[in-house]
Protein backbone atom coordinates (compact mmCIF):
# COMPACT_ATOMS: atom_id res chain seq x y z
CA UNK A 1 0.00 0.00 0.00
CA UNK A 2 1.16 3.52 -0.60
CA UNK A 3 1.07 6.52 -2.89
CA UNK A 4 1.75 6.00 -6.57
CA UNK A 5 2.63 8.71 -9.01
CA UNK A 6 0.70 8.77 -12.30
CA UNK A 7 2.20 9.54 -15.70
CA UNK A 8 -0.32 12.33 -16.21
CA UNK A 9 0.80 13.81 -12.92
CA UNK A 10 -0.72 13.57 -9.44
CA UNK A 11 -0.74 10.76 -6.87
CA UNK A 12 -3.07 7.83 -6.27
CA UNK A 13 -3.31 5.91 -3.00
CA UNK A 14 -3.30 2.14 -3.54
CA UNK A 15 -3.83 -0.80 -1.27
CA UNK A 16 -2.86 -4.40 -2.07
CA UNK A 17 -4.67 -7.41 -0.69
CA UNK A 18 -4.85 -11.10 -1.44
CA UNK A 19 -7.95 -12.51 -3.11
CA UNK A 20 -7.96 -16.30 -3.64
CA UNK A 21 -4.17 -16.36 -3.36
CA UNK A 22 -3.66 -13.54 -5.92
CA UNK A 23 -2.52 -10.05 -5.05
CA UNK A 24 -5.11 -7.51 -6.10
CA UNK A 25 -4.27 -3.82 -6.08
CA UNK A 26 -7.08 -1.50 -5.13
CA UNK A 27 -6.95 2.14 -6.27
CA UNK A 28 -8.46 4.33 -3.58
CA UNK A 29 -8.10 7.67 -5.26
CA UNK A 30 -6.18 10.86 -5.00
CA UNK A 31 -7.01 13.87 -2.88
CA UNK A 32 -9.25 13.47 0.17
CA UNK A 33 -10.40 9.81 -0.42
CA UNK A 34 -6.77 8.77 -0.84
CA UNK A 35 -5.72 10.71 2.27
CA UNK A 36 -8.51 9.11 4.32
CA UNK A 37 -7.56 5.60 3.16
CA UNK A 38 -3.89 6.33 3.91
CA UNK A 39 -4.75 7.48 7.43
CA UNK A 40 -6.94 4.43 8.01
CA UNK A 41 -4.06 2.17 7.00
CA UNK A 42 -1.65 4.10 9.19
CA UNK A 43 -3.94 3.71 12.23
CA UNK A 44 -4.38 0.02 11.52
CA UNK A 45 -0.59 -0.47 11.19
CA UNK A 46 0.02 1.32 14.50
CA UNK A 47 -2.71 -0.72 16.20
CA UNK A 48 -1.06 -3.94 15.00
CA UNK A 49 2.38 -2.77 16.11
CA UNK A 50 1.05 -1.88 19.56
CA UNK A 51 -0.74 -5.23 19.86
CA UNK A 52 2.45 -7.07 18.81
CA UNK A 53 4.53 -5.12 21.34
CA UNK A 54 1.95 -5.83 24.07
CA UNK A 55 1.92 -9.50 23.14
CA UNK A 56 5.75 -9.66 23.23
CA UNK A 57 5.88 -7.99 26.62
CA UNK A 58 3.14 -10.26 27.95
CA UNK A 59 4.96 -13.34 26.70
CA UNK A 60 8.19 -12.30 28.41
CA UNK A 61 6.31 -11.67 31.64
CA UNK A 62 4.43 -14.98 31.49
CA UNK A 63 7.59 -16.88 30.50
CA UNK A 64 9.39 -15.57 33.58
CA UNK A 65 6.46 -16.51 35.80
CA UNK A 66 6.20 -19.91 34.18
CA UNK A 67 9.91 -20.55 34.72
CA UNK A 68 9.65 -19.75 38.44
CA UNK A 69 6.64 -22.05 38.98
CA UNK A 70 8.35 -24.74 36.91
CA UNK A 71 11.47 -24.45 39.07
CA UNK A 72 9.39 -24.67 42.22
CA UNK A 73 7.50 -27.70 40.90
CA UNK A 74 10.61 -29.52 39.76
CA UNK A 75 12.44 -28.82 42.99
CA UNK A 76 9.59 -29.94 45.22
CA UNK A 77 9.08 -33.06 43.08
CA UNK A 78 12.73 -33.93 43.57
CA UNK A 79 12.41 -33.22 47.27
CA UNK A 80 9.39 -35.52 47.52
CA UNK A 81 11.21 -38.27 45.61
CA UNK A 82 14.32 -37.85 47.73
CA UNK A 83 12.33 -37.92 50.98
CA UNK A 84 10.42 -41.01 49.87
CA UNK A 85 13.56 -42.89 48.87
CA UNK A 86 15.41 -41.93 52.06
CA UNK A 87 12.32 -43.09 54.01
CA UNK A 88 12.62 -46.51 52.44
CA UNK A 89 10.16 -46.22 49.58
CA UNK A 90 10.72 -47.28 46.02
CA UNK A 91 8.81 -46.26 42.92
CA UNK A 92 7.37 -49.25 41.17
CA UNK A 93 7.68 -48.98 37.37
CA UNK A 94 7.63 -45.15 37.55
CA UNK A 95 4.18 -45.36 39.12
CA UNK A 96 3.15 -46.26 42.65
CA UNK A 97 5.55 -45.79 45.57
CA UNK A 98 5.93 -48.86 47.74
CA UNK A 99 7.86 -49.53 50.91
CA UNK A 100 11.05 -51.36 50.09
CA UNK A 101 11.08 -54.86 51.49
CA UNK A 102 13.82 -55.87 53.92
CA UNK A 103 16.09 -53.64 55.99
CA UNK A 104 16.78 -50.07 54.83
CA UNK A 105 19.96 -49.70 52.90
CA UNK A 106 22.82 -47.32 53.48
CA UNK A 107 23.49 -44.52 56.02
Amino acid sequence: MGWESRQRGGFYYTRSRKVNGRVVREYLGSGAPGQIAALEDEYERRRREEQAAYERELREELDALDASVEELSRASDLLVRTALIVSGYRQHNRGEWRLRRGPKEGG
Partner: protein, 180 residues
Protein backbone atom coordinates in the same frame (compact mmCIF):
# COMPACT_ATOMS: atom_id res chain seq x y z
CA UNK B 1 38.27 -48.32 37.74
CA UNK B 2 35.06 -49.53 36.01
CA UNK B 3 32.38 -47.14 34.79
CA UNK B 4 30.07 -47.85 37.73
CA UNK B 5 32.82 -47.18 40.26
CA UNK B 6 33.78 -44.01 38.42
CA UNK B 7 30.11 -42.90 38.59
CA UNK B 8 30.02 -43.62 42.32
CA UNK B 9 33.15 -41.58 42.90
CA UNK B 10 31.71 -38.69 40.88
CA UNK B 11 28.45 -38.94 42.85
CA UNK B 12 30.25 -38.84 46.20
CA UNK B 13 32.46 -35.99 45.12
CA UNK B 14 29.53 -33.87 43.95
CA UNK B 15 28.68 -31.29 46.57
CA UNK B 16 25.08 -31.09 47.78
CA UNK B 17 24.71 -27.61 46.31
CA UNK B 18 25.94 -28.99 43.00
CA UNK B 19 23.26 -31.68 43.16
CA UNK B 20 20.52 -29.16 43.86
CA UNK B 21 21.72 -26.86 41.07
CA UNK B 22 22.11 -29.69 38.60
CA UNK B 23 18.77 -31.46 38.42
CA UNK B 24 20.18 -34.08 36.05
CA UNK B 25 22.85 -35.07 38.57
CA UNK B 26 20.34 -35.29 41.41
CA UNK B 27 18.02 -37.35 39.22
CA UNK B 28 20.92 -39.68 38.46
CA UNK B 29 21.56 -40.18 42.19
CA UNK B 30 17.83 -40.76 42.80
CA UNK B 31 17.80 -43.35 40.01
CA UNK B 32 20.81 -45.09 41.50
CA UNK B 33 19.09 -45.22 44.90
CA UNK B 34 15.99 -46.59 43.19
CA UNK B 35 18.13 -49.30 41.67
CA UNK B 36 19.34 -50.25 45.14
CA UNK B 37 22.73 -48.49 45.12
CA UNK B 38 23.59 -48.29 48.83
CA UNK B 39 26.04 -45.45 48.29
CA UNK B 40 23.34 -43.19 46.91
CA UNK B 41 21.28 -43.03 50.13
CA UNK B 42 23.76 -41.11 52.29
CA UNK B 43 24.21 -38.66 49.42
CA UNK B 44 20.45 -38.08 49.26
CA UNK B 45 20.26 -37.71 53.05
CA UNK B 46 22.93 -35.06 52.81
CA UNK B 47 20.89 -33.23 50.19
CA UNK B 48 17.89 -33.17 52.51
CA UNK B 49 19.85 -32.61 55.67
CA UNK B 50 22.49 -30.06 54.85
CA UNK B 51 21.44 -28.10 51.83
CA UNK B 52 20.28 -24.66 52.94
CA UNK B 53 19.05 -23.92 49.44
CA UNK B 54 16.13 -26.28 50.01
CA UNK B 55 14.65 -23.71 52.39
CA UNK B 56 14.57 -21.22 49.55
CA UNK B 57 11.79 -23.16 47.78
CA UNK B 58 9.33 -21.94 50.38
CA UNK B 59 10.57 -18.39 49.77
CA UNK B 60 10.38 -18.94 46.03
CA UNK B 61 6.73 -20.01 46.35
CA UNK B 62 5.93 -16.86 48.32
CA UNK B 63 7.82 -14.64 45.84
CA UNK B 64 5.93 -16.09 42.88
CA UNK B 65 2.66 -15.70 44.75
CA UNK B 66 3.41 -12.06 45.58
CA UNK B 67 4.36 -11.33 41.99
CA UNK B 68 1.10 -12.81 40.61
CA UNK B 69 -0.99 -11.00 43.22
CA UNK B 70 0.65 -7.71 42.21
CA UNK B 71 -0.12 -8.36 38.55
CA UNK B 72 -3.73 -9.32 39.25
CA UNK B 73 -4.44 -6.51 41.71
CA UNK B 74 -2.74 -3.64 39.90
CA UNK B 75 -3.68 -0.49 41.81
CA UNK B 76 -6.72 -2.08 43.46
CA UNK B 77 -5.80 -1.89 47.16
CA UNK B 78 -8.77 -4.01 48.19
CA UNK B 79 -7.62 -6.84 45.91
CA UNK B 80 -4.05 -6.42 47.21
CA UNK B 81 -5.40 -7.09 50.69
CA UNK B 82 -8.12 -9.64 49.91
CA UNK B 83 -6.29 -12.03 47.56
CA UNK B 84 -3.42 -12.88 49.97
CA UNK B 85 -6.00 -13.47 52.71
CA UNK B 86 -7.90 -15.88 50.49
CA UNK B 87 -4.68 -17.63 49.55
CA UNK B 88 -3.70 -17.95 53.18
CA UNK B 89 -7.08 -19.54 53.97
CA UNK B 90 -6.69 -21.84 50.99
CA UNK B 91 -3.20 -22.89 52.06
CA UNK B 92 -4.44 -23.60 55.57
CA UNK B 93 -7.32 -25.65 54.27
CA UNK B 94 -5.05 -27.69 51.98
CA UNK B 95 -2.31 -28.20 54.59
CA UNK B 96 -4.89 -29.18 57.25
CA UNK B 97 -4.08 -29.04 60.96
CA UNK B 98 -0.54 -29.63 62.13
CA UNK B 99 1.04 -30.38 58.73
CA UNK B 100 4.57 -31.69 58.41
CA UNK B 101 7.03 -29.19 56.89
CA UNK B 102 6.99 -31.15 53.63
CA UNK B 103 3.18 -31.02 53.54
CA UNK B 104 3.36 -27.29 54.18
CA UNK B 105 5.74 -26.82 51.24
CA UNK B 106 3.50 -28.90 48.99
CA UNK B 107 0.44 -26.90 50.09
CA UNK B 108 2.36 -23.73 49.12
CA UNK B 109 3.08 -25.25 45.74
CA UNK B 110 -0.57 -26.19 45.14
CA UNK B 111 -1.68 -22.65 46.01
CA UNK B 112 0.91 -21.09 43.70
CA UNK B 113 0.05 -23.46 40.84
CA UNK B 114 -3.67 -22.73 41.31
CA UNK B 115 -3.05 -18.99 41.36
CA UNK B 116 -0.89 -19.17 38.24
CA UNK B 117 -3.60 -21.13 36.45
CA UNK B 118 -6.24 -18.53 37.42
CA UNK B 119 -3.98 -15.75 36.17
CA UNK B 120 -3.28 -17.43 32.83
CA UNK B 121 -7.00 -18.11 32.34
CA UNK B 122 -7.82 -14.47 33.06
CA UNK B 123 -5.15 -13.23 30.63
CA UNK B 124 -6.42 -15.59 27.94
CA UNK B 125 -10.04 -14.54 28.47
CA UNK B 126 -9.11 -10.83 28.39
CA UNK B 127 -7.27 -11.14 25.09
CA UNK B 128 -9.44 -13.72 23.38
CA UNK B 129 -10.89 -11.41 20.71
CA UNK B 130 -7.54 -9.82 19.87
CA UNK B 131 -5.40 -12.92 19.44
CA UNK B 132 -4.33 -14.46 16.17
CA UNK B 133 -4.66 -18.24 15.82
CA UNK B 134 -0.93 -18.66 16.53
CA UNK B 135 -1.08 -16.45 19.62
CA UNK B 136 -4.19 -18.25 20.82
CA UNK B 137 -2.44 -21.63 20.43
CA UNK B 138 0.49 -20.31 22.40
CA UNK B 139 -1.75 -19.23 25.31
CA UNK B 140 -3.66 -22.49 25.14
CA UNK B 141 -0.45 -24.50 25.40
CA UNK B 142 0.67 -22.43 28.36
CA UNK B 143 -2.69 -23.02 30.05
CA UNK B 144 -2.46 -26.77 29.46
CA UNK B 145 1.03 -26.83 30.98
CA UNK B 146 -0.10 -24.84 34.03
CA UNK B 147 -3.07 -27.16 34.43
CA UNK B 148 -0.84 -30.24 34.31
CA UNK B 149 1.48 -28.67 36.89
CA UNK B 150 -1.48 -27.92 39.16
CA UNK B 151 -2.72 -31.51 38.96
CA UNK B 152 0.72 -32.94 39.67
CA UNK B 153 1.11 -30.62 42.67
CA UNK B 154 -2.08 -32.11 44.11
CA UNK B 155 -0.85 -35.60 43.33
CA UNK B 156 2.44 -34.99 45.17
CA UNK B 157 0.66 -33.95 48.37
CA UNK B 158 -1.76 -36.86 48.13
CA UNK B 159 1.21 -39.19 47.72
CA UNK B 160 2.96 -37.88 50.83
CA UNK B 161 -0.29 -38.06 52.83
CA UNK B 162 -0.83 -41.62 51.71
CA UNK B 163 2.61 -42.56 53.07
CA UNK B 164 1.67 -41.15 56.47
CA UNK B 165 4.07 -39.90 59.14
CA UNK B 166 6.92 -42.08 57.87
CA UNK B 167 7.93 -39.35 55.47
CA UNK B 168 8.79 -36.28 57.47
CA UNK B 169 11.25 -33.69 56.42
CA UNK B 170 11.94 -30.60 58.38
CA UNK B 171 13.02 -28.05 55.86
CA UNK B 172 13.26 -25.18 58.30
CA UNK B 173 15.66 -26.99 60.58
CA UNK B 174 17.12 -29.06 57.75
CA UNK B 175 16.43 -32.28 59.61
CA UNK B 176 14.81 -35.41 58.38
CA UNK B 177 12.91 -38.00 60.32
CA UNK B 178 12.53 -41.27 58.53
CA UNK B 179 11.26 -43.26 61.50
CA UNK B 180 8.15 -45.33 61.13
Amino acid sequence: MGPKKADSAAMNNASTSELIEDTEKLMAVIDRAQDGDKEALPVLRKVLDEEPRIARFVDLARDVERSIVEKISGNDVFAQEAIPRNLKAMRREIAREDPSPLERLLAERITVCWLELQYFEAIYAQNLGKLTITQSDYHQRRLDKAHRRYLSSIKALAQIRKMGPAVQINIAEKQINTSR
